[in-house]
């Protein structure tokens, strides 16, 4: 499949320099990014078959002796391109804090307990419909040093591969109705409200498993559109 990747789509992304998120100040390019033609190097990308993941890698509640504490949840959705066609065989990786808002990462030393039964990392590969599914626990909010009394809304980090290296996406999935949204400079780095809300999963009663787990649906739309003669003319 040969796709085009309009750079206009990137207007939905945060600006590299977003001073409200302080770490961007010394880590964002100061010179304008150079626009170059998309060559074979940009239009191709890595492929990961089902050997990249093992059975059970998508269940974060079964990686240790016991079950982790917290609200068990199902997080699922579809990986799509901008024409809403499924992206199959896409590697989807996620990592998150535990139910108390603590990461396993040893730089995270904030005074919330680790859970010996929870690492917080998972991965899977999308099926022929671009669908993926994880079983995990709802991550807690956690404080960070960006500004006084700064707290991140509950979120799960996602890493996704699409058809090409330019459709590579790292993002965060948020939960509906979070009271911390108005105060979070990372969430609000996406300035367009509609685009911002595409990072918020929807509560999915239909896929909730009675007496066992709530479900959230999070579709991920990656760069890439079907090439049409008109688009090709635009592009070259």
């Amino acid at each position: 499949m040969s796709l085009i990747y309009p750079t206009k789509s990137l207007e939905n992304f945060p600006k590299h320099l977003t001073p409200g998120y302080k770490s961007t100040v010394k880590r964002s390019p100061t010179k304008p990014l150079m626009i170059i033609p998309h060559t074979l190097s940009e239009l191709t990308g890595p492929i990961y078959g089902h050997n990249a993941v093992q059975e059970g890698d998508n269940d974060l509640t079964k990686q240790h002796k016991g079950e982790p504490l917290g609200e068990r949840i199902i997080v699922h959705g579809q990986v799509l391109d901008e024409d809403r066609r499924p992206v199959k065989n896409a590697l989807v990786e996620l990592w998150q804090a535990n139910a108390c808002g603590r990461y396993v990462h040893n730089v995270d030393q904030h005074p919330a307990p680790l859970d010996p039964n929870f690492t917080g990392a998972g991965r899977t590969v999308t099926d022929d419909n671009g669908a993926y599914k994880f079983i995990t626990v709802k991550p807690g909010a956690y404080p960070w040093g960006n500004h006084p009394n700064a707290w991140r809304p509950n979120h799960i980090h996602f890493s996704v591969f699409g058809h090409s290296f330019v459709s590579r996406l790292v993002t965060q999935m948020y939960f509906p109705g979070d009271y911390l949204f108005p105060f979070d400079p990372i969430f609000n780095s996406v300035t367009d409200e509609k685009a911002r809300n595409r990072m918020v999963a929807s509560f999915d009663l239909e896929n909730t498993v009675p007496d066992w787990a709530l479900a959230f649906k999070f579709d991920i739309v990656l760069r890439g559109r079907e090439a049409t003669p008109l688009d090709n003319d635009d592009h070259h």
Binding site: S2, Y5, P6, T7, K8, S9, L10, N12, F13, P14, T18, Y21, K22, V25, K26, R27, S28, P29, T30, K31, L33, M34, I35, T39, L40, S41, T44, P46, I47, Y48, Q63, E82, E93, Y103, V104, H105, N106, V107, D108, T119, G120, A121, H157, S159, H163, S164, F165, V166, R168, L169, V170, T171, Q172, I186, F187, S189, R198, M199, V221, L222
Partner: protein, 203 residues
């Protein structure tokens, strides 16, 4: 109207999920209880070509090494073919994937073991000099930045169509310098800001 999902920062704590084993020495025991999906060593037993090592540091605007950075590379094989459906010349039976991932360590250093890519077709059939596409993710980066790595010992750089678009005084930021050794080491430092700010691409 694009329905694209916006990018968000990889944050400071990705290592146990994305680079749990290997160069990441954040964990006191060296690794987390999880496995890599992508390695920093791209060399497969069946791959042909010149083995090389790439090492570098990513510097922030204060010229300090960034020690919570993730670098991904995407490259062709020694014959200039990508292991991707987007390249119909790719050999279906080779194990070489051309894709690697490395975290920076506490000193801010990333490293890859790979093979030197061949020349790749460019716009209008004009060949591109051997190069590697580089994506950089970090706390403080709300989306990845892309750059390219070229090799200091390639005469083909002079005619490369992408390098040719870069102002001459900034081209050097895209060149990895050969330092010798066996396999040869190419050093590729990235400067987010400053006088030597690396050329980043909007692609």
């Amino acid at each position: 109207m694009s329905e694209i999902t916006p990018s968000q920062t990889v944050g400071p704590f990705f290592a146990y999920g994305l680079t749990p084993v290997g160069r990441c020495d954040w964990d006191p025991n060296g690794t987390y209880s999880w496995k890599n999906s992508v390695e920093s060593n791209l060399v497969t037993p069946d791959v042909s070509g010149t083995r090389i090592r790439i090492e570098g540091t990513v510097f922030d605007g204060d010229n300090k090494p960034i020690n919570d950075c993730m670098i991904e590379i995407w490259q062709a094989d020694a014959q200039g073919r990508y292991a991707s459906p987007g390249d119909n010349r790719s050999l279906p039976n080779t194990q070489f994937k051309g894709f690697g991932r490395s975290a920076t360590d506490k000193a801010g250093i990333f490293a890859f073991d790979t093979i030197k890519p061949g020349a790749v077709p460019g716009p209008g059939g004009k060949p591109q000099a051997p190069h590697i596409v580089v994506a950089i993710f970090s706390r403080g980066m709300l989306r990845q930045v892309y750059t390219r790595l070229y090799f200091s010992d390639e005469a083909a750089n002079a005619a490369d169509p992408v390098l040719g678009l870069v102002p001459a005084d900034r081209r050097g930021t895209l060149i990895a310098h050969k330092e010798g050794g066996e396999p040869p080491l190419y050093r590729f430092n990235v400067h987010m800001q400053g006088d030597n700010e690396t050329v980043f691409f909007e692609i």
